[in-house]
């Protein structure tokens, strides 16, 4: 409120400036009212955000209209980069793959953490141990996790997973080496790697559910499933909606798994949008197509922003609990 009052007071005291709104304060009054110290305190934050967040964003928007190799002078090419990206047949493959990944990740990655969290919260003894075990994969550095799983996914009969499958008379499966199974294999690892974080969020939310609701449900004769359905899920609604959108945004930007596991192969079956962006920029050692890469990045960011806004509008009425 302290910031707002001088704005209202300004018209009475400030001299009129030609061409400016009459509500505008004079710099002198701004300084007198502590504007400088406000700016001074803001400055470190502004510089950090400016240099590391905003500048790259603005630069990439500019670059999406340019042709440049980052060494020589850049040339403005209008919408050429966007046209080039939109007419690249690989874009649709990448989009399809990304949607397929997102769908599989939702199918497995969304309900599993919830089930695990509910189970852990139901356990009376050693809850801490189970939480720690569920969270453990998140602690493993992602690159190490992928390399480990690459080893597990060895498609020869002596591979780790294939050996286990062999014990029950199955396999050997091709895992990453087959165009059909490569993407599900990536999702499996991604789910394993990310579930722990979501489990912890759900556990925290579950702790906030008042115990008397469960007691009341029990008195009414509700079993575990009815308790989950009628008490737990409605109480977690807001968190569930947020984790849903975060998961969609996260999966739309999947890069690490296809990059490290398959490089987009076999035969582009795991080329995702972000990997395509990376390929535009870096696959050619003689200066990649940074314009196309940034153009696609901007389009992806815009699509996700629109999706988020629409999603929150649509679910606004559900989330108020």
């Amino acid at each position: 409120m302290a910031v707002q009052s001088p704005v209202r007071a300004a018209p009475a005291t400030a001299p009129r400036e030609p061409g400016s709104a009459s509500r505008r304060r004079s710099p002198v009054s701004w300084v007198r009212r502590g504007g400088l110290s406000t700016l001074l305190f803001l400055l470190p934050l502004l510089i950090v955000f400016g240099v590391f967040s905003w500048a790259p964003i603005v630069q990439s928007v500019v670059m999406s209209f340019q042709r440049t190799n980052l060494v020589g002078p850049a040339e403005f090419v209008g919408l050429d980069n966007f046209v080039q990206v939109l007419t690249d047949p690989l874009l649709w493959t990448a989009l399809e793959n990304t949607l397929w990944f997102a769908f599989l990740a939702l199918l497995f990655g969304y309900p599993i953490p919830l089930v695990v969290a509910v189970l852990i919260s139901e356990v009376r003894a050693r809850r801490g141990l189970f939480s720690a075990l569920a969270y453990l994969p998140v602690v493993v550095p992602p690159v190490v996790a992928v390399l480990l799983w690459k080893f597990f996914y060895d498609a020869s009969p002596s591979g780790v997973f294939n050996t286990v499958l062999g014990w029950v008379g199955l396999g050997p499966w091709q895992w990453l080496q087959d165009q059909g199974s490569a993407m599900p294999a990536l999702v499996l690892e991604a789910t394993w790697a990310a579930a722990g974080g979501t489990v912890i969020i759900y556990l925290a939310a579950l702790a906030g559910v008042p115990a008397d609701l469960y007691e009341a449900a029990e008195i009414d004769g509700a079993g575990i499933w009815r308790k989950v359905w009628h008490v737990t899920l409605p109480r977690l609604r807001t968190v569930l909606l947020v984790t849903f959108i975060l998961q969609i945004i996260g999966t739309a930007q999947v890069f690490l798994e296809p990059f490290l596991f398959t490089g987009g192969g076999p035969a582009n079956s795991t080329t995702t949008l972000l990997l395509l962006i990376y390929d535009y920029a870096f696959a050619n050692s003689l200066g990649g197509d940074y314009g196309a890469a940034t153009a696609l990045s901007i389009m992806l960011a815009a699509a996700l922003a629109v999706f988020s806004v629409v999603y929150f509008r649509l679910t606004k009425s559900w989330s108020g609990s």
Binding site: V3, Q4, V7, A21, R24, R25, W30, G35, L39, L42, L46, I47, F49, G50, V51, W54, A55, V58, N69, L70, V71, G72, D154, A155, S156, G159, P172, Q174, L176, Q177, D178, Q179, T262, G263, G265, P266, A267, N268, D279, A281, F282, A283, N284, S285, L286, G287, G288, Y290
Partner: protein
Amino acid sequence: MKSSRIRILTTALVVPFALSACGSSPEDQVGTDGKVVITVAIDAGLEKAAVDAFTKRAEQFEQANPTVDVRTQEYTWTAATFTAQLAGGTVPDVFTVPFTDGRGLIERKQIADVSEQVAKLPYAGALNPNVAKAGQAADGKQWAVPIAAYGQALHYNRTLFRQAGLDPDKPPTTWAEVRTAAKQITERTGQAGYATMTQGNTGGWILTTLDYAFGGRTEKVDGDKAEATIDTPEMAEVLNTLRAMRWQDNSMGANFLYDWAGINQDFAAGRIGMYVSGGGNYGNLVTQNGLKPEDYGVAALPLADKPQAGVLGGGTLAVVSPKIGDRSKDAAVKWIDFYYMGKLTDEQAAVADAKTLAETKQPVGVPTLPVVDRATYDKAQQWTKPYVNIPLAQMKPYTDKMFDQPLLTEPTRSTQDVYKILDTTVQTVLTDQSADVAALLAKADADVQNQIGRS
């Protein structure tokens, strides 16, 4: 309220740009002791003995050049990381690139013009002209120094050959023999008989190699015009051979997502019977992948009985960063002369290099193609003969033929893009049993044509 927000926002946006606008012009980095400092590339991931050998060479250089302070920086060229490093300015002052990148880097002035310094080197006129071309600007000035040349070869595991009942001294000389041997290796040892790279543009590199070996070419260049020639009977033959080995013989193992590092690793670990890669690969296999020397064999790449059939060759250029000043440039070229070229052209340097390598148990005498004229090359072989510590007899099937095989250069137009397109082609053949080779080739041909036309 609104205007102050806009002001703050403007400041926030302008300040970082002002900061990032501070560019740098070429200048020398001079230490407090007045020595000029240069950073030089050392292969990433070397074993300790190899690092020791390198450090020793750097010390010897500093003794000979007391005004220069050499610092090392890990660097290995890969298509994907190089662009980022170059754009970000994180390449060392002296680094290496493949022949295919030379002309492009020179045209875009992404490397320094050191032609003046190079011209003063005593062997400047004795460079192998075919090889020197890769490092020359359009006007013939030598901006980059060719330091190594290779021709592709067939590497094989002698131990697996023996276990499979094959004669390790008589490796395959035709592709039909490669196929039979691969099948036998898989059947008797359970390991991949023949494997191939498929990822990170290396799939295209090897596919092009096989295309050349079968008598094909991937593009036809006529002046400014370039035409894709992927959809040819030769390339179809290559893909059908691979397909038969993969799906009929099942002799290609279980990994169809190999890149260069990955395939070297698995070969050194004894999981691959045969694969195609540069003839001088022994050094990498030993120093970075722990290959047992007794396992190793290398043969000349089998060529089809056609006059156009040849071996794809390439090489490495030593180049200098455009960001450094004149004193540093002088020092950088001195380093190239000392570390890369001295051992090829000067007896004392060759002996010193071989001695250091031998003392630190690093391979000496790995067969490579000459970057200097044949006479100088032969002399250098003699100088280092007493220090050779590699199983040369096991490389005879290659060394006997390496100078007789016709050497062909890599595709010159959009090389890496062409390779990338072919990556997908070879991956499809190896992971989709019902892949339609004719349709694949038609698509790859159109994609390559599109790519060549654009650049």
